[in-house]
C-alpha cells in the first residue's frame, strides 16, 4: 500500500543534501548555583532518509541533544540548520512553526493529551498547522490504520497500553509530514515485545523514506538503525554506519 505522506520528502534537505547540519553545538545549563556543560561541541550532519540511533551512558547529553534537534530548546553556542534554515536564530514563535511543520517528536513517556481521544491527539498538530477539518480527519484515520489501531479512534490514552500509546504518539508526530522524526527513548517505558513492535514501526517508516533519529539504551534496537552515534560527556565518541546503513 502506498500512502503518500509516508514517502520520502524531497524538499526536506538543503543544497548539500543534509536535512540536519550541526556545527559546534554547546549547551550549558545555568541553574544559578552550578553550571552544567551538557554538550561540549557537537557536529552532526544528517542526510535525507537516514535512520540514526544515538546511544551513550546516562547523563551524556542525549536528551539535551534531542531537545535541540527538536527545537524544543536552543543551544548556548553553535550553528544548527534544519532543512537549510538557520534554527539557532529563530524566536519562540518561529520555533513553534518549525516544530509543527518540520519535526515530529516522540517522547519516552508518550506525552499524549489525556483529555483527548486517540484521533484528536493525532489531529492536534494539524490544528496548529491550520489543516482543514476534513483533511485532518482523513489523515488522522489513515495514520491510525497505518499503525493498526483504527479501532481505537475514540479511546482515551488511559484506555490504551503503553505500546499503543507510543504508536499513537508516532502517528501524531507524523501528522504534519515532518522532515525528521525524533524519538527520545521511545521504547524506554515499554516491555521488550512492545518495544520491538514500536521499533518495527520506525524501521518501516524509514524504509518508506522518513529521516529518523532515536535515542536508545538498547544496543540490540540501536543496531536496527543505519548509523549509530555514541555520546560521552557531551561529546561524540563514535559515529559509525552499521550493517543496515550500507
Amino acid at each position: 500500500m502506498h500512502i503518500p505522506f509516508f514517502s520520502k520528502k524531497t524538499n526536506g534537505s538543503n543544497g548539500n543534501g543534509f536535512v540536519i547540519s550541526m556545527e559546534g553545538i554547546k549547551k550549558i545549563y545555568d541553574t544559578g548555583k552550578i553550571k552544567v556543560e551538557a554538550l561540549k561541541g557537537i557536529d552532526i550532519k544528517v542526510k535525507n532518509g537516514e535512520f540514526i540511533a544515538i546511544v551513550g551512558p546516562s547523563g551524556s547529553g542525549k536528551s539535551t541533544l534531542m531537545n535541540i534537534l527538536g527545537c524544543l530548546d536552543t543551544p548556548t553556542e553553535g550553528n544548527y540548520e534544519l532543512s537549510g534554515e538557520k534554527v539557532s536564530k529563530l524566536n519562540r514563535e518561529e520555533l513553534a512553526e518549525i516544530r509543527n511543520r518540520k519535526i515530529g517528536f516522540v517522547f519516552q513517556n508518550f506525552n499524549l493529551l489525556p483529555q483527548l481521544t486517540a484521533l484528536e491527539n493525532i489531529e492536534m498538530p494539524m490544528i496548529f498547522g491550520k489543516i482543514s477539518s476534513a483533511e485532518r480527519k482523513h489523515r488522522a484515520r489513515e495514520l491510525l490504520q497505518r499503525i493498526g489501531l483504527e479501532d481505537k479512534e475514540f479511546a482515551k490514552p488511559t484506555e490504551l497500553s503503553g505500546g499503543q500509546m507510543q504508536k499513537i504518539a508516532i502517528a501524531r508526530a507524523l501528522a504534519m509530514k515532518p522532515d525528521v522524526l525524533l524519538a527520545d527513548e521511545p521504547t524506554g517505558n515499554l516491555d521488550t515485545t512492545s518495544g520491538s513492535d514500536v521499533m518495527t514501526v520506525f524501521s518501516e517508516l524509514n524504509s518508506l523514506g522518513s529521516t529518523i533519529i532515536i535515542v536508545t539504551h538498547d544496543l540490540a534496537l540501536a543496531r536496527r538503525a543505519g548509523r549509530i552515534i555514541q555520546l560521552k560527556d557531551g561529546k561524540i565518541e563514535k559515529d559509525a554506519i552499521t550493517e543496515n546503513g550500507k
Partner: protein, 419 residues
C-alpha cells in the same frame, strides 16, 4: 478557529477549571458582587444627579435673583449707607436698557397676608409679580388651571395662583380653580394651582406654598411702589456674568450706586451655583465609581488566581502543545477567553441582580422625605452599562493576561523532561 477546534480547546483548558466548581462559583460571585457594587453605586449617583438637577431646574433655568441692598461706598456725592431702591417703573426701564436678558420681572412680597376660604383662614406669604413670572419661574399649572396672563395684569384683575401645598391647606380635596378666596379681606379668584414639582433652592419660600398675584393688582390695592427683588433670565448660561455686570452698570446710574459696590445689590446667580452642583454630583459619581472599580478589581484577582492555578495544573499539557507546534497565541487565547468568560458571567449575574434591585426600589414610596426623594431613585443608564462592561472587560483581560503570559513562557523542554 472552527467549532471543533474550539471544542478541543474547551476540553483541554476549561474542563479542569470547571471541576473546581466551588472556587469558580466563589470567584463568579465575587465578580457579580463587584458588578452590583459598581452598577448600584453609579445608579444611585446618577439618580441623585438627575434629581438634583431637576430640582435645581424646578425654580426655573438660567435665572438670577437681585435684591437691592445698601451702598457701602459713596457714589457721585451720595454718601455710603444709602438704601438702594428699585421702583415698579424700573422694570420697563430695565427691559428697555438691558435687552440681553430674555426676561425681567419684578416681585413684591407680603409676608403675612391672611387667606380665607370659607371658614378656613391661614397666614401666608403672597408674591406679586409680572405675568412673565409664570414662564420664567416654572409655575406650571395643574390641569384645568392657568397662570395669570398679560391681560390679567393689564386689567389689574384680582386673580391668584396657588402653590399646591397652600391649595391643599385651604381647600383640602376640593378643586380650588374658579373659587373665590379672601386675601386680606379682598376677594380674589383662584385661576390655577401649581403642579407638583421637585424644587431645590428658593428665596422667600418654596413655590409649593407660594401664592402669586399680578403686580399691577397689588400696586393698585396697596399703593406700594418699591420692588422687593427682580428676577432676570438669560438665554444661555455663559451670558449670565457679562449681563449681570451690565445690569450693575445700568442700574447703578439709575439707582445711584457704584457698579463696584458689592453691598449695593445682593445677587443670586443660579447659573453659578448650578455649576457647583454639577461638579459636586460629578465628584460623587467619580467617588462611587472608583469604589465600584476597586471592588471589581478584587473580584478580578480571584479570577487571576484561578487562572494561575489552571496554568500550574496544565503546565505539562501546555508543554506538549508547544512541543507539537502550538504558537504562543494558541496558549494565551484560551486563558484570556476563560478569564473573560468568568468575568462576564459574573458581570451578567451582577447586572441582573442590580436591575432587580433598581426595579424593586422604584416601588418604594419616596414622597414626603427629602432624602429619599433624592436618593431613592437609582437610575441605570446606557453609559453606566457601557462603562461597567468596559471595566469588566478590562478586569477580565488583566486577570487572564498575566496567567496567560506565564503559560506562554513555559519552556517545553524543561516541562517534558523525563526523570
Amino acid at each position: 478557529m472552527n467549532r471543533e477546534e474550539l471544542k478541543i480547546i474547551f476540553t483541554l483548558f476549561f474542563s479542569a477549571a470547571f471541576l473546581r466548581k466551588k472556587r469558580a462559583i466563589l470567584t463568579i460571585a465575587a465578580i457579580s458582587w463587584g458588578t452590583v457594587a459598581i452598577l448600584l453605586l453609579l445608579a444611585f449617583g446618577n439618580g441623585l444627579q438627575k434629581q438634583l438637577l431637576t430640582a435645581r431646574k424646578g425654580m426655573g433655568e438660567n435665572l438670577a435673583v437681585v435684591w437691592p441692598g445698601e451702598t457701602s461706598i459713596s457714589y457721585k456725592g451720595l454718601k455710603e449707607g444709602r438704601r438702594v431702591v428699585f421702583w415698579v417703573n424700573d422694570i420697563s426701564f430695565m427691559r428697555e436698557r438691558l435687552p440681553e436678558f430674555e426676561g425681567i420681572v419684578g416681585e413684591m412680597t407680603d409676608w403675612s397676608s391672611t387667606l380665607t376660604y370659607g371658614r378656613k383662614t391661614v397666614t401666608a406669604f403672597v408674591t406679586a409679580s409680572n405675568w412673565e413670572f409664570g414662564e420664567m419661574r416654572n409655575q406650571i399649572p395643574e390641569k384645568g388651571g392657568r397662570f395669570f396672563n398679560a391681560i390679567d395684569e393689564k386689567e389689574r384683575r384680582r386673580v391668584i395662583f396657588l402653590g399646591y401645598e397652600r391649595a391643599k391647606e385651604l381647600f383640602g380635596k376640593e378643586d380650588p380653580v374658579g373659587k373665590e378666596i379672601l386675601v386680606n379681606n379682598t376677594p380674589y379668584t383662584v385661576i390655577g394651582v401649581l403642579k407638583k414639582k421637585l424644587q431645590m433652592g428658593n428665596y422667600s419660600g418654596p413655590d409649593s406654598h407660594r401664592c402669586v398675584i399680578p403686580l399691577s393688582t397689588y400696586v393698585a390695592q396697596y399703593g406700594e411702589q418699591r420692588l422687593h427683588n427682580v428676577v432676570l433670565k438669560i438665554s444661555s448660561p455663559e451670558k449670565m456674568k457679562p449681563a449681570l455686570d451690565r445690569f450693575k452698570q445700568v442700574m447703578g446710574v439709575k439707582a445711584g450706586f457704584s457698579p463696584e459696590d458689592t453691598k449695593a445689590l445682593h445677587i443670586w446667580d443660579t447659573v453659578e451655583s448650578s455649576k457647583y452642583l454639577v461638579n459636586f454630583t460629578v465628584g460623587i459619581k467619580l467617588f462611587l465609581g472608583i469604589i465600584g472599580v476597586l471592588t471589581l478589581l478584587v473580584g478580578g484577582t480571584g479570577v487571576a488566581n484561578i487562572m494561575y492555578a489552571v496554568v500550574k495544573e496544565k503546565t505539562k499539557e501546555i508543554g506538549i502543545m508547544m512541543a507539537i507546534g502550538a504558537k504562543p497565541k494558541w496558549i494565551t487565547t484560551p486563558f484570556l477567553l476563560q478569564s473573560l468568560f468568568y468575568t462576564f458571567l459574573g458581570g451578567f449575574f451582577g447586572l441582573v441582580i442590580s436591575a432587580i434591585i433598581v426595579f424593586l426600589l422604584s416601588f418604594v414610596p419616596t414622597e414626603g422625605s427629602m432624602a429619599l426623594e433624592f436618593l431613592g431613585k437609582p437610575t441605570l443608564s446606557l453609559p453606566i452599562g457601557i462603562f461597567t462592561a468596559f471595566v469588566l472587560g478590562f478586569v477580565g483581560f488583566l486577570a487572564g493576561h498575566f496567567p496567560a503570559k506565564r503559560a506562554s513562557l513555559i519552556n517545553p523542554a524543561e516541562t517534558l523532561r523525563y526523570e
